[in-house]
Symmetry: C2
Subunit: 713 residues, 2 copies
Amino acid sequence: MTDAMTPADSLPEPTRTLYLSGESSDEKRQQLLNYFNQTWALYESLFSCLSDPQAWYTKAIPLRHPLIFYYGHTATFYINKLIAGQLIDKRLDAHIEAMMAIGVDEMSWDDLDDTHYAWPDIAQLRDYRAQVKGVITEVIRTMPLELPIGWNSPAWVILMGIEHERIHLETSSVLIRQLPVEWVQPQPHWPVCPRARHRYQDVPKNQLLPVTGGRVTLGKTDDTYGWDNEYGRQVHDVSEFQASEMLVSNAEFLHFVQDNGYQNACWWDDEGQGWLAFSQAIMPTFWVGQPEQPDTLKLRLMAEEVVMAWDWPVEVNQLEAAAFCRWKSAQIGQSVQLPGEAEWYRLREAVPGDQPEWQRPPGNINLSWWASPCPVDTFRQDKFYDLVGNVWQWTTTPINGFEGFNVHPLYDDFSTPTFDGKHALIKGGSWISTGNEALKSARYAFRRHFFQHAGFRYVVSKHKESMTLNPYETDAMVSQYLEFQYGPEYFSIANYARQLVEIALPHVKQRGHALDIGCATGRASFELARYFEQVTGMDYSARFIDVALQLVSGDDFRYVIPTEGELVEYRQLRLKEVGIDRITAGKVQFVQGDACNLKPQPKRYDFVLAANLLDRLRQPLRFLHDITPMIQSGGILLISSPWTWLEEYTERNQWLGGVRENGEALSSYQALQRFMAAEFEEIAPAQDVPFVIRETARKYQHTLAQASLWRKR
Amino acid sequence: MTDAMTPADSLPEPTRTLYLSGESSDEKRQQLLNYFNQTWALYESLFSCLSDPQAWYTKAIPLRHPLIFYYGHTATFYINKLIAGQLIDKRLDAHIEAMMAIGVDEMSWDDLDDTHYAWPDIAQLRDYRAQVKGVITEVIRTMPLELPIGWNSPAWVILMGIEHERIHLETSSVLIRQLPVEWVQPQPHWPVCPRARHRYQDVPKNQLLPVTGGRVTLGKTDDTYGWDNEYGRQVHDVSEFQASEMLVSNAEFLHFVQDNGYQNACWWDDEGQGWLAFSQAIMPTFWVGQPEQPDTLKLRLMAEEVVMAWDWPVEVNQLEAAAFCRWKSAQIGQSVQLPGEAEWYRLREAVPGDQPEWQRPPGNINLSWWASPCPVDTFRQDKFYDLVGNVWQWTTTPINGFEGFNVHPLYDDFSTPTFDGKHALIKGGSWISTGNEALKSARYAFRRHFFQHAGFRYVVSKHKESMTLNPYETDAMVSQYLEFQYGPEYFSIANYARQLVEIALPHVKQRGHALDIGCATGRASFELARYFEQVTGMDYSARFIDVALQLVSGDDFRYVIPTEGELVEYRQLRLKEVGIDRITAGKVQFVQGDACNLKPQPKRYDFVLAANLLDRLRQPLRFLHDITPMIQSGGILLISSPWTWLEEYTERNQWLGGVRENGEALSSYQALQRFMAAEFEEIAPAQDVPFVIRETARKYQHTLAQASLWRKR
């Protein structure tokens, strides 16, 4: 930071995110009230930049509602969350609150929202906002307030509303920037930075600086409000890399443009090429004019166009930033790319402190200096510039929950829809990032084609982003099985797989190779791997096998289970949490296979588990016949089944039992005994083994399987 | 009994049913072996009357297999029951045992069995029977035998086989009687009665004798083997009546024939007219010749035709017997009909002792006298003749289980298919009724058009048979609800209706009129009737209301529930068994009604129970809206629901909650609270109430409903 520099006088006094702990509830209540009021006022002042009614009612971009929606939305959000959290019980205006509740998420660039809305008057919304402000003020004044403020505190709901409004402060400022310039006007309380180099030749050259490797631990631990995706823990061993000293400036990016970067498909990946074809972009979106005449180019700011500020950071989407990196790689013959999330954190370690501690931040952030970007060589932080602040910096990393991630029940769609491998993280914050946004621990992500006040810094690095898709599994059958095999106990019924393994173990002397046939998502296979040298988990469903393999990889597996009606709960599972370590998991080989068409194999099993299998097979007798020679002499077969025969799975003439034979009732167990007598000895009395499968939060299948143990002669 | 009379010498020594108790197992084992051997030999000797192979292989009547089947069937029956009872584990001949297992039941007279069977050789079957005899002998010799022999004793299975064979001894003798006479031949060891009056004018006239009224208690209590339908208890207060001194003789029946009884539809009920049209009968089936020339008529016996024995009892089906009674009523101007089961027992009280005690029975029964009927004035018993023996006597009573009836698990289709209101009891036994058949407690029933060695005695009586159909309910939904509302507890979860009533009671001060809406089979209505002056049970399903009404009537309700695959369990329910007396039940009025279309009514309810209702309604909010004005100020509404919303019942836009509203999760309970606030006060914290619904013997729905209590303002 240049010591001589002073912030624009007309900016409001910067605010700071609240600490969650403290000594005095009264004091905290007052801080909360101030923070609420400041945020409220700041948000309203942003809309003073709209000079034409069309600016309120016209979509700035097709994927977002017009600004009139956002003006009402942050107020409505409070009301809806307060009702959902049962802190208030009445709506203020059901009509407005229905209309202003749900924004349009940025999806693919060519999604079009064709819904027609009859938006209310601005005046009407002003009245509404005033009423809401009164209600929230009253809630803050009267709600119970214990310190520290936790996830389930009423104050958390208030902070959620405040931080939500601070997000929309920034995203609305981007929408304003995307409106026609004649509908907006600069305001003295939104002062732009006066410094800029207007000749691109004057901009200092960027350079790569070395960064040492080291371990970085991600996950929010500070004492401030956070969104659900910030919590949990993730450890990265970051290798040494080089990073650009400065953010890429408009001047530096000009080389790419002039080298026909937008015309040369080789710098763009498939998604980038698709976006190029759709957008017909030939230069960054906020540049105004003809790129062939760079001296005449202007730069669109939030509320005005100015002569191009060549030393300000270029603002692009991630597709453009990645294309630049590919071009740059070719230029310098090194592996240039965007940093990963962990690399950014490695860089960030050089900046002392964090937003709530800073009297004046060491970068162009938190509205502490100007209401615009500033030259890329303004804020020196250690040996780099702009590690925090100025504009956001794209990373390669698709946002994902850390280990231990939990969905906040009052805002369960904040993060979960973005865990789709398509939303890339931006880091560092911009000049208008305030509150939670300005924290080191903040994690925001957008589709790669989307624009924010975001540019980039490049790195030369060997890191390879694994762009694994890890969305929430919504296949009802997979989710139900995961919950059954790995979820919590209901009605005090112990885990079924564990019960079965415990029943079998005393009888199994040889513990070489076990087969878990009909393994579904694999729980029993993993349990067997604690005791056997080798386990094969086999299922007919490739979908199940995929899930089991993903669990073996050690990744989180996320799934959604129904609670009531269309409402769901979010679950996150990793094997470690059920006590299965990597070595144990590694002993299991999962394969897709058909129990009614087993392939002969040379090795024989010491133990075969067929749990909840027989009454779901087309030909249960064929399976029993085929599995017999695959079991060692002295080996054990455990059959556990509730004998729920259904014609949709097994034709009636194939049912093992549960039928009348010559007029007499023949139970499946009797039929099993009859069939098994030839090659097996029944070594223990059959026993009932209960299990529970959750259908909703209130409805369960509670079943008594019958387990029988057979030793091969 | 005529003292001078002696039985035919050539008959085998009569056997007696075993007593179940005794001092010595060894002795009982020997008795059992003897009883088995005697029965076996007797059955085989019956087949010596077949003189032509066609007699073995041709159906005597379309509704029954040919006799070859019955020859093998009684042996196969032993094997199948011994396997089902796990007393032996191997079949002797799977082919024979599959073919000989299932007889054709007499159904409607025009049912035709078109299956083609490749029956085995007689010699082959003789060998098979010999093998079976060896197996059974070995089982009897070696099985555990504790006294007394009970339902679950191995010896019970043996007795079942013996008594089963004794039934077929009689029914096969009827089939032989129905074969062409040229295919059969009389045998010296099946000697017919030598006495008969061959002029109908010589037959003594029948007369009506008075019988005093009195209480009769039905239900087997003696110490012998019985079929499941004989057990339990049923009390009848029999009014005084008159009964014919003798069975109706061929001579007495001739008047009806000569009076064009078979041609005059007015004496026949609909079923009788249908049978007449089908059979074209003009006289009793065993009469041979032209009825217009009665002097030339012959009588078909089991193995021969003889000159008409006019003083022997006429043998007819129940339709013919009932037609005669109607005709007789018109003749004498009194209400002549067949006796009811209880009336027969009232008559039977005059006969001392029972089959196992009799040295020589006091009637033509148990093969103790002849192998045919005898004159109706042969065996005087008190002031009547033939209260037991000679031929069976049709009653008006459709067979039904007594209170406390249970199905024997090893022969669950012995009685249950006959509890259809269409099978009328025959009482008293015939000359060939032996074993259990010859007991006072025996209960056999046949379709009314069917022939046995059966005739009738008429009565003048005011008794009116209630021919209510009472078959086993097999509608899966009705059965599942009955089991849910009245069946045993599973997983130690208390009865749901009782739980709910107990939750409500402390809050309900006024106990005038309660409404149980969505009452299903009515359990909660009955529970409420313990406390309220008046209860209305309402359900949309008329089927459920019918069931509830039948329960109110105090009758048994029978239903079938699945155990495994196609196997079922039989249940019998009466309100008394769940502690609801007639007075309590009488307070409930069941009505069919639509909760989404409630009719306004002047009286208001003090209490309304809506259990498991809301999430099955088309319009749950409409119901809540409509029920509100029907509740007294201060009255209570209890809503209990698992909130299992399904689009098949409730369109999504009608779901109370379990949806996102303005993007926020809105639970059904929250939505309920919001709706109810206007007119109700919530008077207790909502609570979870578990319930269990059985699907099979191993699979259950285990659900946690949410119960909330609301007081009307």
